[in-house]
């Protein structure tokens, strides 16, 4: 951001000592625009207005305000539930605050980071950034190709300066100073009569380079992230042990992609879930490890075994596969009233309680040949404990030690033929009836079917039977493809490197003028200037001048003491001795 930026360290903001007509490359040429808030141009034409607006936008002050605004507009994202992060909580918010929620919705407060006002702020900020950094980069490139600026005629305004008579001869002093300024870019100016030589030296151009790299990398980052949202895809799928997933859009339980994503671009790999294991800490009961063993078949036909773990996604076909969830999928067979097999297979149950793996699920049996369609909804308990007193059952461990299915029984029309997509984990009971015990006044308590592995249990009212065959595990997988990831990382690291350079590399100018007084003594005057805070500046000038200085040892020691502020008494002692 250029406006308001100037080489710091000068005593006053004005720089009367800057030689006229010499651009010192400090990029403060654009500075005057908005250092004070200029009133809007009255009576200007539209072009002038545009120019004025652009200057305001690219000024440091406006950039600062936009930064503040960006911080402020991001905050609602933590006060209100966000739809992309947690749609369930948004739905709950609608239930809890029925009158407020639509208003919030209107202002995009349930999706702050995609809202027009949030986008407006960061786009303006980036516009401001570009408008500022581009001219500044051009200035910097110019500065890189030019020798350092000529030294001002007087050094008195520089806070870090020095002057003394040197025992070294004039020409030798010039040579020595030139050597001491190794690593600097140098401009040597010899006076008209050859009596005075001035060295202008500058180093640390990387500070500004870093600054520019940092800002440009942020622009690159924004572009890469933006491009990623256009070409990415992401899908979720549940795979039961023994099953194979083929990467095509049809196979996903849910799938979303950017507008530029090409459906044919799905890498057609296949993946079989060979097994899933979980481990829990014996003391705390907390999850300790999840592992999905899979066999991946690439389009070429090569099979390879892989393990997917939390924090260790599988990378294949340009996509990444993440282990996001797991659970049990009891394998059941349901027969209808006529004894025909109406349903058979594993049914994933969703975990309700992560500590005990209390799981909830639904078994839909539409293909009955005799009688109504059957719906079974209820819980799966890996280690079931039945409390006869309260007639409840619950799980005490996520390990399948005493697996049990506890199911309510419904019959009627499942509503699957309406063509309306249904949630597989919910029973649409609109056209169904629950089986209840005959009560005193018509409706009694619901009849529950309890079935353990290996058992076959009759369904009530002669609806049929259910058999609990097996207990395979299932995993919930996230597949994600985003080709911009390496770019995002590259720009982020570039920004980090640029930032470090711009904050920690010192940019310094050193001016050394060497002449002679009437007595033929060599006279050295020097000054140093830094951009930004530079606590080492004084030390640097001392270092450069050291070989030219009279009475080397003591003087320097004194100076070092003064700088560090240590041992003031010793300094006085030495001063006294010397005096």
């Amino acid at each position: 951001m250029s406006a308001g930026y100037r080489p710091e360290g000068l005593v006053s903001g004005d720089d009367p000592e800057k030689p006229d007509g010499v651009d010192d490359g400090s990029a403060d040429t654009a500075a005057p625009t908005a250092q004070t808030s200029t009133p809007g141009p009255v009576g200007f034409g539209p072009v002038a207005w545009l120019r004025w607006t652009w200057r305001q936008l690219t000024s440091m002050r406006v950039a600062l305000l936009l930064l503040l605004l960006l911080a402020v507009v991001a905050l609602p994202g933590t006060f209100f539930p966000q739809r992309p992060q947690d749609p369930a909580r948004v739905a709950q918010y609608y239930v809890d605050n029925p009158s407020l929620a639509p208003v919030l919705e209107r202002f995009g407060l349930f999706d702050v980071f995609a809202s027009p006002w949030f986008s407006a702020v960061y786009l303006l900020l980036f516009l401001s950034l570009v408008g500022c950094i581009v001219p500044r980069s051009l200035d910097h490139i110019k500065a890189l190709r030019r020798p350092p600026p000529a030294a001002p005629s007087r050094f008195t305004r520089f806070p870090v300066r020095d002057a003394f008579a040197s025992p070294v001869g004039r020409d030798e002093a010039v040579a020595t100073a030139t050597t001491a300024l190794q690593g600097y870019r140098l401009r040597r100016t010899d006076g008209a009569d050859g009596a005075v030589t001035t060295l202008s030296a500058e180093r640390g151009y990387s500070r500004e380079t870093g600054n520019i790299v940092f800002h440009l990398a942020l622009v690159g980052l924004l572009i890469a992230v933006g491009y990623g949202t256009f070409v990415h895809y992401r899908g979720q799928v549940i795979v039961v042990e023994g099953d194979t997933f083929a990467n095509s859009q049809m196979q996903y339980d849910s799938f979303e992609s950017g507008p530029w994503f090409d459906e044919g671009g799905l890498e057609p790999f296949r993946m079989r879930l060979d097994g899933f294991t979980s481990r829990f800490d014996e003391v705390s009961g907390m999850a300790a490890d999840f592992r999905a063993e899979v066999t991946v078949t690439e389009p070429g036909g090569d099979e390879r075994p892989e393990t997917i773990r939390v924090n260790h996604p599988l990378r294949t076909g340009g996509a990444s596969v993440y282990l996001m969830g797991n659970g049990f999928a009891p394998d059941v067979t349901v027969t209808d009233a006529g004894g025909n097999v109406a349903f058979s297979g594993p049914v994933p149950f969703v975990i309700v309680d992560q500590a005990t793996y209390d799981s909830r699920g639904v078994i839909k049996v539409p293909d009955t040949q005799v009688g109504d369609q059957i719906g079974l909804s209820g819980v799966f308990l890996p280690t079931a404990v039945v409390d006869p007193a309260s007639d409840t059952a619950f799980s005490i461990s996520p390990e399948p030690n005493e697996p049990l299915l506890v199911l309510d029984v419904w019959f009627g029309n499942l509503g699957l033929d309406d063509g309306v997509p249904q949630n597989v984990y919910q029973l649409d009971t609109q056209a169904m009836q629950q089986v209840r015990a005959p009560g005193s006044d018509g409706e009694g308590a619901p009849v529950r079917v309890v079935v353990a592995p290996g058992q076959t249990v009759d369904l009530p009212d002669g609806l049929g039977t259910i058999t609990f065959n097996d207990l395979p595990r299932y995993v919930g997988l996230d597949l994600r493809y985003d080709p911009t990831l390496p770019w995002v990382l590259t720009f982020a690291l570039l920004a980090l490197a640029g930032l470090s350079a711009s904050l920690f590399l010192p940019r310094r100018r050193v001016f050394v003028r060497i002449g002679q007084d009437d007595g033929g003594r060599t006279v050295v005057t020097a000054a140093a200037l830094a951009r930004g805070d530079d606590p080492g500046l004084e030390r640097e000038l001392t270092r450069v001048l050291e070989p030219l200085r009279p009475a080397v040892g003591k003087t320097d020691q004194d100076r070092m003491n003064q700088e560090t502020g240590q041992a003031p008494d010793r300094q006085q002692d030495e001063g006294a001795r010397r005096g």
């Binding site: 930064l67 800490d281 920690f504 005057t525």
Partner: protein, 320 residues
């Protein structure tokens, strides 16, 4: 390993005691400092005469700031504060290390551990600056901060050392979280300095500095010190965001998802970016910039305590 966990607790408690003594000792030194300190000697330059010819400006000896008048030579209270403070840090480091062994992993996986490590870092930053220049005036604030943070950690955030859940089993736990704790410690010191700068500025504005504030360095010096610490903090925080994004990509399948923690970390980054820009915007440098430094640290505290404990976030690893 329960015994080791217990030993760690004793060590942390001992460290708190040492911090308490350090707070008191530094505070006594602080008040004495104010009472004893003579008025500042004006900055003078002993001009030497040199006849010049051919050189444009007559050589004038550098108007280098002459060191302030010598302080009272012995600051016994400060020395006591300094040594108990060092002892506190050593005890706390021992407590952190034993905790790590007790849990069998790096000791910064929940809020209790995170706090202890942050306090270690803040203390080390203070000691590191102290090696270069005399900032013992900060001692009482830093040890008070350490004391409060540790008290909160023990009273509210404590959990027994256990292994971590699969989502945290990553080497990024070592890197990302370590840098985050360090960043927090570094920003804490900078915010303290900025707070003192603001207090001093305000007193000067009123025309009454009072004894204690007048014994502090000039507000320009405090500003520069805060900036140097904050710029280290900002680079660390940038790395926290990047490493967090990499880890999120590994663990959750996306590098940035505007989770509550991510939002606040982003806000913190933007506030400190604003701070850096404010410093080089005319009319905003100095006092206004210092407010950003304080606001940035306030956001860090919100991000740490409020988001971790009260907001539904993927980063809910407090264990509380």
């Amino acid at each position: 390993m329960a015994e080791l966990g217990q030993i760690s607790l004793y060590l942390v408690t001992a460290a708190m005691t040492a911090y308490l003594i350090a707070t008191i000792a530094f505070a006594i030194d602080f008040s004495r400092l104010a009472a004893d300190r003579p008025s500042r000697v004006s900055r003078t330059a002993d001009a030497r005469e040199l006849v010049s010819a051919g050189v444009a400006d007559a050589p004038v000896v550098a108007a280098r700031p002459v060191a302030d008048a010598p302080l009272p030579p012995v600051r016994r209270a400060a020395a006591i504060g300094q040594s108990t403070f060092t002892a506190a840090v050593v005890l706390l480091i021992a407590g952190v290390v034993t905790r790590g062994f007790a849990a069998g992993r790096v000791p910064w996986a929940n809020m209790y551990e995170f706090t202890t490590v942050s306090v270690v870092v803040a203390s080390l930053v203070f000691l590191a600056i102290q090696r270069k220049r005399d900032v013992r005036f900060l001692g009482t604030f830093i040890s008070l901060f350490a004391l409060l943070a540790l008290f909160l950690a023990l009273a509210v955030l404590y959990t027994d050392p256990t292994a971590v859940q699969p989502a945290l089993q990553s080497y990024w736990l070592v890197i990302h979280v370590a840098i985050a704790t360090s960043g927090m410690g570094v920003f804490a010191v900078a915010a303290t300095v900025s707070g003192l700068q603001l207090a001093k500025d305000r007193a000067i504005g009123r025309g009454t500095q009072g004894r204690i504030l007048s014994s502090l360095p000039t507000s320009a010096d405090l500003e520069r010190l805060a900036f140097r610490i904050n710029s280290v903090g900002f680079v660390l925080w940038t790395f926290v965001l990047i490493s967090g994004a990499i880890w999120a990509e590994h663990a959750w399948g996306r590098y940035w998802g505007w989770d509550a923690k991510e939002v606040w970390s982003f806000v913190i980054w933007v506030v400190y970016a604003a701070y850096l820009h404010a410093r080089s915007t005319r009319g905003w440098e100095g006092r206004r910039a210092a407010w950003f430094s304080v606001a940035g640290f306030a956001s860090i505290l919100v991000n740490y305590y409020v988001v971790n404990l009260f907001v539904n976030s993927l980063h809910s690893y407090s264990g509380v």
